[in-house]
């Protein structure tokens, strides 16, 4: 599964993109985020406030209860500020 981080999430995690193989218990976005957080303190901190977190699964906006099968491209980012 490919995970992308943008804006201050990329800066705080120190990673723009990574390939991960989460355990089978990770079946939706919420459990993926929980799993990413417990890996190290930088991720735990960056992903602490889920109210400011936006998610896209396979380049479509998604929510925390969006189901995952382990093969998706998941992107985590703050609210967008383009235009």
């Amino acid at each position: 599964m490919k995970i992308l981080y943008f804006a201050w999430l990329r800066q705080r995690t120190g990673i723009g993109e990574e390939d991960v193989s989460p355990p089978e218990s990770v079946r939706d976005v919420a459990s993926l985020v929980d799993w990413l957080k417990q890996r190290n303190p930088a991720f735990a901190e960056a992903l602490a406030d889920t109210s400011t977190l936006r998610v896209a699964v396979n380049q479509e906006f998604a929510s925390f209860d969006t189901a995952l099968n382990g093969t998706e491209e998941v992107a985590l980012f703050p609210p967008m500020t383009g235009g």
Partner: protein, 159 residues
């Protein structure tokens, strides 16, 4: 009907001409150009860097553009959004909507810029004069502007 995400600057006049030339059923063309301001939220800024999500950006802009064509009788449209480092006064974004009638051209153009502010995956990192950087926070006014265009389709409840 065209989307471009690029580092390079654009030529507004050339784009309007290219979009309208040879189509004499177009009566009105509304365009919007967004520029880097030297002052944002009361803070003096000298430059900014626009980060985006390659792939998803193009996809979302194409969806927004298709929706504008569904809603208004447009003959042509264009969205160009730049990324990378931009300085105060630089052009960031161009939206053009062309229609037989000016009402549709105005409304579609404003819909496109309002909507892409909340739907297109771009993030601005501002640089202050002293070199300090900060990520621009999403504005509630932008959400409100986009919300104006939400239709009630599918939200009506039975009973």
């Amino acid at each position: 009907m065209a989307i471009r995400v690029q580092r390079e600057d654009f030529d507004v006049g050339a784009e309007i001409t290219a979009l309208t030339e040879g189509n004499p059923s177009i009566g009105g063309v509304t365009s919007f150009v967004g520029l880097v301001r030297d002052m944002a939220d009361g803070e003096r800024t000298s430059a900014m860097t626009l980060e985006h999500y390659p792939g998803m950006t193009e996809k979302m802009l194409a969806e927004i553009d298709a929706e504008a064509h569904d809603r208004w009788p447009l003959e042509a449209s264009l969205i160009i959004h730049r990324y990378g480092r931009l300085e105060a006064g630089d052009r960031i974004v161009l939206v053009i909507a062309a229609s037989p009638h000016r009402d549709a051209a105005f409304e579609a153009c404003r819909f496109l810029i309002d909507w892409l502010k909340t739907k297109a995956p771009f993030w601005k990192l501002e640089e202050a004069d002293d070199g300090a950087t900060r990520w621009v926070e999403a504005k509630e006014t932008d959400d409100a502007a986009a919300a104006r265009w939400e239709t009630n389709t599918g939200t009506r409840k039975a009973g």
